[in-house]
């Protein structure tokens, strides 16, 4: 009888309750959308910031390396030592590559030659524009990439042979692609690490290791700290500009989302409250009658609490579904990538809306004051 009566209560007041459920659905849709956004924003921001490139750099300690002479007399690290530690922390979220730099000559012109894992260049530098083809083989010693400035200076195009000289040693590769980075990389030539080490006679030596860690600033700092502990003789440095900007932006977006959620919860509760206050007045006669028939206030209020609970849960469920679509759309508009709905948003939205509906049903407390004798007299 309890649920039968609750259903009839809902049916009997459907016109007025429509207002309440619309408020709940609207509130739930926006809250669900914002919650999905909140859960997804970190991933999206991480992806966005990862596009900026490496966010951790491993270099020799400053005492061993004077910046002004780094290219001419660079301090070097042992490739094996660094890579063995990087392999230990390897995960799908971490990309890394060693780099070795020398100033070589080509056609009588000095150019910076960079030896690295060619297959990782694209991952570590997702913003680079490339004319030509990426090199997928890590140690492809026959092909190389050339920065656009260097290509112009050396009159290179795709497929051109490129000869490099370092002291008395020579190396040759074919230009596979021309890099447009908008930065100093445009002046450099990228070849396989092994080829450069042979050219410079620096077997097993590297200048820098770059890591791109996909995660929040805390995770990045954690990886840096872990590496730093494992490699005390080297300097492991998160690139603060990127991680700090990501952290600050994430914090601001989260604050905005939480503020909006609170505001919407309050507004929804006020709307439900106004509806329930009117409903409580309408139902005074029914309450008076129920009391006269021997209904205890707890049993009577139980009907109405269940009623608003059903309203809140239904509003939360419908709103959560709409919110999933909303967050999908917002993700496309803001980040250019859809934010998929998170399963935990559904129960969270339903619980929040049920609590809001209950809070909005506070005017039903006045039903406890109803005097049946007065109501039944028609006053």
């Amino acid at each position: 009888m309890f649920w039968r009566l609750v259903f009839q209560l809902l049916r009997g007041s459907r016109a007025r309750l429509t207002v309440a459920i619309l408020a709940l659905v609207s509130g739930a849709a926006v809250i669900s959308g914002l919650l999905n956004l909140d859960f997804g924003v970190e991933y999206q921001l991480t992806q966005q910031f990862r596009a900026l490139g490496a966010n951790i750099v491993v270099t020799p300690q400053p005492a061993e390396s004077a910046p002004e002479s780094a290219l001419t007399n660079p301090a070097l690290m042992h490739e094996g030592v660094v890579l063995s530690h990087l392999q230990q922390i390897a995960s799908p979220n971490i990309s890394y590559a060693p780099f070795a730099y020398v100033v070589a000559r080509s056609q009588g012109t000095a150019v910076v030659a960079v030896g690295t894992w060619l297959d990782e260049l694209r991952i570590l530098n997702p913003t680079w524009k490339l004319q030509g083809n990426w090199i997928s083989a890590r140690n492809d010693q026959t092909r190389c990439l050339v920065g656009r400035n260097a290509a112009t200076q050396l009159h290179l195009t795709m497929g051109s042979p490129l000869q490099l000289q370092y002291l008395t040693r020579h190396s040759e590769c074919t230009v596979a692609g021309i890099v447009n980075s908008g930065a100093a990389d445009d002046d450099q030539i990228f070849m396989s690490l092994q080829a450069l080490q042979t050219l410079a006679d620096l077997p097993g030596k590297i200048s820098v290791a770059q890591l791109s860690v996909s995660g929040n600033p805390k995770l990045i700092a954690g990886v840096a700290s872990q590496l730093s502990a494992a490699l005390p003789q080297l300097q492991v440095r998160p690139i603060r500009e990127v991680t700090d900007a990501e952290g600050a932006l994430l914090g601001r977006i989260r604050l905005l989302i939480v503020s909006m959620i609170i505001l919407i919860l309050v507004l929804t509760a006020l709307c439900v409250l106004a509806t329930m206050a009117a409903l409580a007045m309408e139902r005074r006669a029914d309450i008076g009658l129920m009391k006269a028939l021997g209904g205890s206030i707890s049993r009577i209020v139980g009907f109405f609490v269940a009623e608003v609970g059903v309203l809140g849960a239904a509003g939360g469920l419908i709103g959560a579904l709409l919110g999933a679509a909303l967050s999908y759309w917002m993700g496309l508009r803001v980040f250019g990538a859809a934010i998929p709905p998170r399963w935990e948003v559904f129960p969270l939205t339903i619980v929040l809306m049920t609590i809001v509906a209950m809070a909005g049903a506070l005017p039903l407390r006045m039903l406890g004051e109803v005097k049946p004798a007065i109501i039944l007299r028609g006053e």
Binding site: L5, G295, S296
Partner: protein
């Protein structure tokens, strides 16, 4: 016969207004009592106190051994559910519940619901074909019969009927009165407020009220047994 209602020097004040002023009488089990009197004479106040909807200022109102004035809110609630069956002039059905659900509502507050029994109660008052109708789909007489079925469903010790035919046409009035006659024949105890002398005359006893007291000419009759 046992005494179902025992009223001793009952008084009820609403501020400075005295609605009941030292009323005393008894009702035996199975009696049908008609309470009559002009408006404002205290009839409804008496019904409200006997039904546990109000409490006396002084005196005692004992129904089936329970002193209503001594009950707290919770006790009054149980008292209404278990001892009393109400029939109101305005019917007072829940508008969004069907006839059978209105009857089951009284069962629900009493103990547990039994839809079969509720249907039988409605069939008894001639509404077997109106079980699933909501009040707006029923005539006034049909609504009052639903109210009678609801009043009977928990087998109360006392049926309190406040102007049960006051809003009915002649045909429906007869139907409801016939129902009350049947209940009386079953030795149900009925206390009925009415303005109609013709209906009052059907009762075993008639008690007249005036200004919150038993009318002088009736005071002695009120204490007489049939």
């Amino acid at each position: 016969m046992s005494t179902v209602v025992q009223i001793e020097n009952l008084r009820k004040d609403f501020g400075r207004v005295c609605a009941l002023d030292g009323v005393s009488f008894e009702i035996e089990e199975g009696e049908w009592i008609a309470i009559m009197g002009p408006s404002g004479s205290g009839k409804t106040t008496l019904i409200n106190i006997l039904g546990g909807l109000d409490t006396p200022t002084s005196g005692r109102a004992i129904v089936d051994g329970v002193d209503v004035g001594r009950l707290d809110e919770s006790g009054l609630t149980r008292f209404r559910a278990e001892k009393i069956g109400f029939v109101f002039q305005q019917f007072h059905l829940v508008s969004y519940l069907t006839a059978v659900e209105n009857v089951m509502l009284a069962q629900y507050f009493h103990s547990t619901t039994d839809e079969k029994e509720a249907r039988q109660a409605l069939e008894r008052v001639g509404l077997g074909d109106r079980l699933e109708h909501v009040p707006s789909q029923l005539s006034g007489g049909e609504q009052q019969r639903v109210a009678v079925a609801r009043a009977l469903i928990n087998h109360p010790k006392l049926i309190l009927a406040d102007e049960p035919t006051g809003n009915l046409d002649e045909a429906n009035e007869k139907i409801v009165i016939d129902l009350l006659r049947e209940l009386h024949a079953e030795r149900r105890t009925i206390l009925m407020v009415t303005h109609a002398p013709s209906i009052g005359s059907l009762a075993d006893r008639r008690i007249d009220f005036s200004h919150g007291r038993l009318a002088p000419s009736m005071a002695s009759l009120a204490s007489e047994r049939p």
